[in-house]
Symmetry: C2
Subunit: 459 residues, 2 copies
């Protein structure tokens, strides 16, 4: 099966790659204040690409932090409207020394494009724009469906601005379905729709002990140590089996339905390859009574993303540190309420802070987990379009990651979201040497264009 | 009671202070490779000061790392020989933002001289040189005792070079007693000799989990986290009462003699002031069944001096970190054998490293604890000289800090060490805003000169 977009992609292979590489050269790291100007440049790049694709009503919408980009094309009366979402911001690239080519100088090796944001999410959101452009060119400025684009620059920092914008602009954003490409194929060549996401509560804990760093000889044995106090606290968060010890945390956790678990069991999951080629550690960890897929897709987790305190330069310094901080997140599964979890977490920190230590918790972001019903007609059409292009039946999976906007669309716009991603499990999102498979970039453009075609002709 | 050095100190008050400030301006941070040249400059400064004091046979002795400085004056036949030891290197000044004046721009406030190294140990070792200079001036180039100086630049990084030099140069360094000023008065105005020191084993633990930083959404729940693994390991090192859980660690720990404990109980120790004015935390911690002085002077401790791993910049990054490191030390009490402790510690790390994590231990330095018998004649003479100058009876204390050279002198030169320090408990050694009380700088010069006088005339 083919799509009318095929000739466009064939004709423009080089240009499509060069444009994406230009996009990837912009270090739009949303969490780092020194890159604020780069984030804006990326927004302007997106707006220009939307213009090239003949979209209309293009806006760069100012927010408290990084701009949103909006565009639409609404000249297909009687046809459904697809709200295309993506993000143009990226994670910080550190640790820099582990990159084989610089993170913001895209490099092609072995059929992959290496750059920060290649898969997450610049390479994927750009496919939406190119799919529209392909159809516009082939159909003399017409599309088979109506489309709206809403693209943000704060996805990697909690998406605060878009989560204010969506409820305040429900009419403007009205659509039948949202389309998001920020997930991965289950494996290369397997068309995959993601129907479940975990939520995320991201926090910072600051611990304070003595008023200043103390000499460990003169005070060691009687003075509290902020680093050790934080270690003692955090070690209590999970048992050795990975089960979180925060009271109430599992209250609303539901097991996946038996059919869903059965379909996961039928996926070609190779635990050895997962351990050795993806994780690269000596052993997997976590709740042994759950399968690995269930652990990463359908169980809450607590992770310490970073910790800092005391003397960490080369050599020796014998201080009892006055302060320490850790970045700690909880991944939530559908039905868990972020507000209730935050309360339970704060109570747990307060109750478990060791003597002599003061702790303060800051919540940097929070979002609930999401489940999408795969029986929704738009999801079924997307599954068919995907199968048409890749030539295999579409599988339904979950992702352990978080895309908070999916919950916002469900809550405020009352629409389901198609999570149609073209990444691969080993793309290295948030890691050094992030990559995107170039063949999947092209097949993504084709699949999205074909979904628009099928969705338009189904109605 | 007075000393012949009084007029010298009175006449040279300003000059003595300016010279010390010049010395403190040299950032001789021995642990940081970028300050290697500064450490050498400090050695040259010391050599020049020894020359000004009319000492002889001055040498800057090259070592594998930072130079030693030697000098002597041996023209008092029949009189005892004092080996004066000190160190001209300093701790790193970070965290810099907590200093009220820059660490290497000495600043006088409230009768104190603020600078890194003011008390530890530049301000104190310089007193030895000035005491010699005072007596030389007053006695036409003669001293009441023979003196040798051996001053190092690696005290803050484990003292490896001097610990090789001393056993290889036993004849050259032969003396009757060593004199070290690197400790504190028990309280301002109380003459204090320290007769016990803790030893130190300083280590670094590196933990590795996944091969690269992983996305915590996609892998969280099944992949090991190097930061969390290190947290789990370190949290097992002590119970909530501060007792170290490393098997065998307490095997050779001796309680202080009843008389020593009784004398400590008679010291004016104000636990509230210690907590609020020195430590500045909400509570003291550690082994509740021991007094605070016993905890810091006569009990082993384990401290984490610093920890680093994962994402620690501003904002949010959802990684499962691949690596983490911690600086961990053990303070040892006399009779504990550093080699046995290192073996026990390594075994404990290996046995307690969580699944999926690999750990590596590096030992940066090690030294045993030391006890000096206060009944030694030289110690008794020092106690009298101290009382003479400060006008109160001398007290005998221990310090929880470590001065490894004291053990080396005992082992290789078979001499006791007089630990005659003039710091104060709140001097902030190793902390921001380290200071040295200027009046104690002057009374230190007088006391040391007077000790030389008394020691010379006693024999």
């Amino acid at each position: 099966m083919t799509t009318a977009a095929h000739p466009f992609v064939e004709r423009n292979r080089d240009r499509l790659l060069q444009e994406l590489m230009d996009f990837l050269r912009i270090p739009s790291i949303s969490t780092l204040p020194e890159h604020k100007g780069d984030v804006r440049r990326a927004a302007q790049f997106v707006a220009a690409a939307l213009r090239d694709a003949r979209l209309e009503n293009i806006e760069i919408i100012e927010t408290a932090r990084h701009p949103l980009v909006y565009a639409d094309w609404l000249h297909a009366p009687g046809k459904p409207t697809v709200l295309c979402y993506g993000h143009y911001d990226v994670q910080p690239p550190d640790p820099l020394e582990l990159w084989e080519s610089p993170p913001f100088e895209p490099s092609i090796r072995g059929g992959n494009l290496y750059a920060r944001g290649a898969a997450d999410d610049k390479g994927q959101m750009y496919m939406h724009i190119k799919a529209v452009q392909a159809l516009m060119e082939l159909h003399a400025g017409k599309l088979p469906v109506n489309v709206k684009f809403l693209i943000e620059g704060e996805e990697e920092v909690g998406g605060e601005s878009i989560s204010k914008y969506v409820p305040a602009n429900q009419d403007k954003l009205r659509a039948d379905v949202a389309l998001v490409s920020d997930t991965a194929l289950y494996a290369d060549g397997i068309p995959t729709l993601c129907v479940g996401l975990r939520g995320l509560v991201y926090t910072e804990i600051e611990a304070a002990g003595p008023a200043r760093d103390l000499h460990s000889g003169l005070y060691g044995g009687a003075a509290p140590n902020a680093v050790y106090g934080l270690i003692e606290l955090l070690a209590k968060a999970k048992d050795s089996n990975g089960r979180i010890r925060i009271p109430g945390l599992y209250d609303r956790v539901q097991a996946p339905a038996p059919e869903e678990k059965a379909s996961w069991a039928s996926l070609p999951f190779d635990q050895d390859a997962f351990l050795h080629h993806e994780v690269g550690a000596t052993a997997l960890t976590g709740e042994a009574e759950f399968s690995v897929l269930e652990r990463i897709w359908a169980r809450p987790t607590l992770e310490v993303h970073g910790i800092a305190g005391g003397f960490t330069a080369a050599g020796a310094k014998t201080v009892i540190p006055a302060k320490a901080t850790a970045k700690v997140s909880l991944r939530l599964v559908p039905d868990q309420d972020p507000e209730q979890i935050i309360r339970a977490y704060r109570d747990w920190v307060a109750a478990n802070t060791p003597a002599g230590i003061r702790t303060e918790v800051k919540v940097l972001s929070s979002s609930p987990g999401v489940l999408v019903n795969p029986a929704q007609p738009a999801i079924q059409i997307a599954a068919k379009a995907f199968s048409d292009i890749l030539g295999r039946p579409t599988v339904f999976t979950r992702s352990g990651g978080s895309i908070p906007i999916v919950g916002e669309f469900a809550q405020h716009l009352k629409i389901p979201t198609i999570l149609m991603g073209f990444g691969l499990p080993d793309d290295g999102l948030h890691s050094p040497n992030e990559k995107y498979r170039i063949s999947n970039y092209y097949s993504g453009i084709l699949t999205i264009a074909h979904f628009f075609e099928r969705y338009g002709s189904a109605s």
